[in-house]
């Protein structure tokens, strides 16, 4: 028995001695992740307590699933969940095929110079900050001075206040996202397409395949792994609609479609100071997301040998 422990200790010493410099390099980042990621996960237990400032996180009373139940029974629950799902599923449906199509189209563009310029220009919006992006939307769509409404009026239509309309919000959110990120998301497919062996294309050409047939039988199968991998990751994020853009685009008039889980968490937590309740809502979101990711990944691994981990 003591022999075994000694061997183990020796092994540990050996490991540390051999690689202590690597552990030293790793140390700051390890501390970072423990402090800024794992400690807050531990602190998330206030979702199961009635947090009182005077009692602190560890002293507050344990209440189990009270806050989760409150959220599930709240009149906002269905609305917020639907708003979140609407935005994310809509984005998913639009943002999965479009970058693939764009990459394929660029790939077959015969004017290489134009393709190159287009590609460079298409990345540019990705670097615009969310604040500026939303500002541009509201300037362009403004009823009096925006060029969109000017164009509508010129064509004989009625001006429309897009930024204040709950019906328009999901479309604005998703399509401005397409404008901003299509080129960027296509990069990965462009790279993936370029790694397909040219011989396959040559063989297809010799066989008299049209471009559409080459896309169908050479390109699509060639990039399928990448497509599935990204799809898994995106489905895993289906409930985590980013906070910033929705928060910045929402106002009192469009909030019936623009209140999502992340903005609700912020509102009840940081504005109304219902700390335990807000954490419970956030935790609910995280857990559902995580379950989705694992499920989709497992299915993908079974069906097609593809998985992210």
């Amino acid at each position: 028995m003591s022999q075994k422990i000694k061997v183990k200790q020796k092994r540990w010493k050996e490991i540390i001695r051999k690689n202590w410099e690597l552990y030293l390099l790793l140390l700051p980042t390890l501390i970072f992740f423990i402090l800024f990621h794992y400690y807050p996960m531990y602190g998330a237990q206030i979702a199961f307590r009635d947090f009182k400032i005077t009692k602190g996180i560890w002293g507050s009373d344990w209440v189990g699933f009270k806050h989760f139940q409150r959220f599930l029974n709240s009149p906002y629950f269905i609305e917020i969940l639907l708003n979140t799902l609407r935005l994310s599923i809509y984005s998913l449906i639009v943002n999965t095929p479009l970058p693939i199509a764009f990459a394929l189209m660029l790939n077959y563009c015969r004017n290489r110079k134009f393709a190159k310029v287009l590609q460079t220009v298409s990345y540019a919006p990705h670097f615009i900050s969310t604040v500026v992006m939303v500002a541009m939307l509201s300037l362009f769509l403004s009823t009096r001075s925006g060029f969109v409404n000017q164009a509508i009026k010129a064509l004989g239509g009625q001006e429309f206040n897009f930024m204040a309309s709950p019906e328009a919000f999901p479309h604005l959110y998703v399509w401005s996202g397409v404008w901003q990120n299509l080129g960027w998301s296509a990069i990965i497919y462009i790279g993936s397409l370029s790694s397909i062996s040219p011989e396959l294309h040559e063989a297809a050409i010799v066989d008299g395949a049209t471009i559409m047939q080459r896309i169908r039988y050479v390109d699509i199968p060639g990039i399928m792994n990448t497509v599935i991998m990204l799809l898994i990751l995106n489905v895993g994020n289906v409930l985590s609609i980013g906070f910033e853009k929705v928060f910045l685009m929402s106002n009192s008039l469009n909030s019936s479609t623009a209140e999502v889980i992340s903005t609700y968490t912020y509102k009840v937590g940081m504005v109304q100071a219902q700390y335990s309740y807000s954490t419970a809502v956030g935790l609910f979101n995280s857990i559902v997301n995580f379950i989705l990711l694992v499920t989709v990944n497992t299915i993908a691994r079974k069906v097609s040998d593809n998985s992210v981990y």
Partner: protein, 298 residues
């Protein structure tokens, strides 16, 4: 593929014409809004306001820019953001490169567990409230460092860096250096860093833009005006009256001030994107590389 003027089939000719048309339309859709911001920023505010600006700037004036440059808040925000970005990115590079190198060494004991624990944080978190309490407890609220330390490492970028180093720093290189009496630290400093300039450029790009555009952290943790980063100030100026006066007030009563404020917004958008615009041509060639490393399965 070298093509010896193969005659295109009818099918393919249709494909090419449809393809080119769609791409040209797409080009216009992406480029026009960007172009419009530029020309609107130095056109006559009244004409911009009336929607008379289409393809070319009209009534060129720099009033919008003059007002932008006389805005004190904007300069405070600009200065703060430059500081946050420069110091933040230096810290990012240090933390990411050291950890990525350590994690790229396959013999490192416990490597898989640590990798899993880091990846896990990409999909699961404690939420904003526990994080807020943490910042409060370690006295980071309203501190300069709250814009730098809590985002010192990004898990995704760390994974990119690690897979880059795994495929670019062969094991034999270290073995050779070892014979010359070089330890891991020396190897990292003298061999890994100089061989990773592409990676560092990509990381600087990703982290730098992230800092420049960062808004949420400041919204959460900073309440003192003199520490506001640019994006918070921008939000105040650009989105303060998203739809109120402009859309509700009777057109007769709209003042020149309102038109000028509108023009100033275009100028501010240009001014605030300046660093990215200037660096864009230089960093452009790294985009594809960066995204491609990111696609390598971890």
């Amino acid at each position: 593929m070298d093509k010896k003027k193969i005659k295109l089939s009818k099918n393919d000719r249709i494909f090419h014409s449809v393809n080119t048309t769609i791409l040209v339309v797409f080009f216009l859709i992406v480029a026009y809004p960007l172009y419009f911001v530029v020309i609107a920023s130095f056109s006559d505010p009244t004409l911009v306001y009336q929607g008379k600006i289409g393809l070319l700037p009209k009534g060129i004036t720099f009033l919008g820019y003059e007002r932008t440059f006389s805005n004190e808040n904007l300069f405070i925000g600009y200065k703060n953001t430059i500081l946050y970005t420069v110091i933040g990115t230096i810290l990012n590079i240090f933390m990411t490169m050291t950890a990525a190198y350590a994690l790229s060494v396959r013999e490192l004991y416990g490597r898989r567990v640590i990798l899993f624990l880091i990846t896990f944080t990409m999909y699961f978190g404690g939420g904003i409230i526990p994080k807020y309490f943490l910042m409060r407890d370690i006295h980071l609220i309203n501190s300069f460092w709250v814009m730098v330390i809590p985002c010192a490492v990004n898990a995704y970028n760390l994974m990119i860096a690690r897979s880059f180093l795994e495929s670019n720093i062969p094991k034999e290189l270290y073995e050779a250096a070892q014979i010359d009496g070089c330890g891991r630290l020396g190897f990292f400093r003298k061999v890994v860093m100089p061989l990773s300039s592409t990676l560092v450029a990509i990381l600087v790009l990703f982290y730098g833009v992230g800092h420049w555009n960062s808004y949420f952290d400041a919204l959460m943790y900073i309440t003192e005006r003199e520490k506001f980063p640019l994006q918070v100030i921008l939000r105040e100026i650009l989105l303060s009256n998203q739809f109120s006066p402009d859309d509700m007030v009777d057109p007769e009563t709209q003042s020149v001030m309102q038109q000028l404020a509108n023009s100033m917004r275009y100028a501010i958008i240009i001014f605030s994107s300046l660093p990215v615009l200037i660096l864009y041509p230089f960093l452009q060639k790294y985009f594809v590389k960066g995204m491609m490393i990111g696609s390598v399965k971890g």
